[in-house]
Point group: C2
Amino acid sequence: MALEKETEEKIFTAAQEVFQKKGFDGARMQEIADEAEINKSMLHYYYRSKDKLFMAVFQAGVKKILPKLLGVLGSDKTLEEKVVQIVDFYYYIFKVNPYLPAFVIHEMNMHPERFRDFIISSQIQIPQKFKEQVEQEVADGRIMEIKPEQFLINIVSMCMMPVIAKTMVQVIFSFDEREYKEFLKERKAQIPELIMKGVKP
Amino acid sequence: MALEKETEEKIFTAAQEVFQKKGFDGARMQEIADEAEINKSMLHYYYRSKDKLFMAVFQAGVKKILPKLLGVLGSDKTLEEKVVQIVDFYYYIFKVNPYLPAFVIHEMNMHPERFRDFIISSQIQIPQKFKEQVEQEVADGRIMEIKPEQFLINIVSMCMMPVIAKTMVQVIFSFDEREYKEFLKERKAQIPELIMKGVKP
DNA sequence: GTCTATATAACGATAGAC
DNA sequence: GTCTATCGTTATATAGAC
């Protein structure tokens, strides 16, 4: 019917909102229905169960992040350019979808077995090009002895941690919303420099 | 009675186990009772409600981390020594209580308002001594222009992120348990160097 | 203090009319 | 496709015997 897709989209959007904010266990089907402004029965009509609706949201969330990140890693840019691009990308994600990173990480920890297959079947893996690039930089003596995986996690850590631990940062530093945003902005400018200087030989 | 304290402690220990692993929403009072090997009614007899039992566990968790961390920051050690001590401390926490960091961060995000009062009333704040120490290093030109808050979050990020995102790290790098542990161990040796070189002028 | 039994409410899910 | 009504289950919490 005419409204079929519209309704399904409204459900999905509402489910994203609620699941990402409250997690699978904290989310209520009724709340999703309210958020979508439709009847609760419609959720089951379109997605059959809470589990299936959740998986749709979760998988879409992962696909918003990982492919793009791996794309940057596999490009022809220099290592320094890639660092800047990764930082830019994460800050873009935080801006358009602030709850997404914490949501994905939390749900993966809650049900590791559930998502291994999905991620493995999605062909998600670190591009060989990136690994060789880091190893070449090490071999040429331009950076210290460091594994590509460690280098990548360094960047991700510096970007994501203060976002995932938002409340913690705000409370222990007594930051209001404006000060917190300013803190993140200030970091963004510093992270590439910290990362690259940190791995100097 | 003779078993009073013993029972209350068994409940508390079991509650820690279950809450930290599954979160407030995912935890079940019955599961806590099973874990403690006592009757479910005992949970309410000693703690009145799930909420109160949870708060006891959460507050104990925060007190395991923050006071010790702030103690290190407020000591007379050099900045470099403090970095090493903070890294050591976090790795100690991960070892004895692997789920605690992710638990605290997740629950704070779920209910920010709930915990502001507790943390503020606990007098938790960054020691002035640490702030002045970083500012002095900057003024003396020994490190780049960086705020104490940023410097601290850099260390915490590098330590905690790969622990909080354990499943993510394991899956995208195809690490088994042994390789993951090795990865963390390798990081531990590198983090102080990365942090200090990163802030060189 | 510890147990059994049960109250009470909420949740996910479905049946069936339209 | 969309609604109302309701089923079946499970959760927290309490009452009351011992």
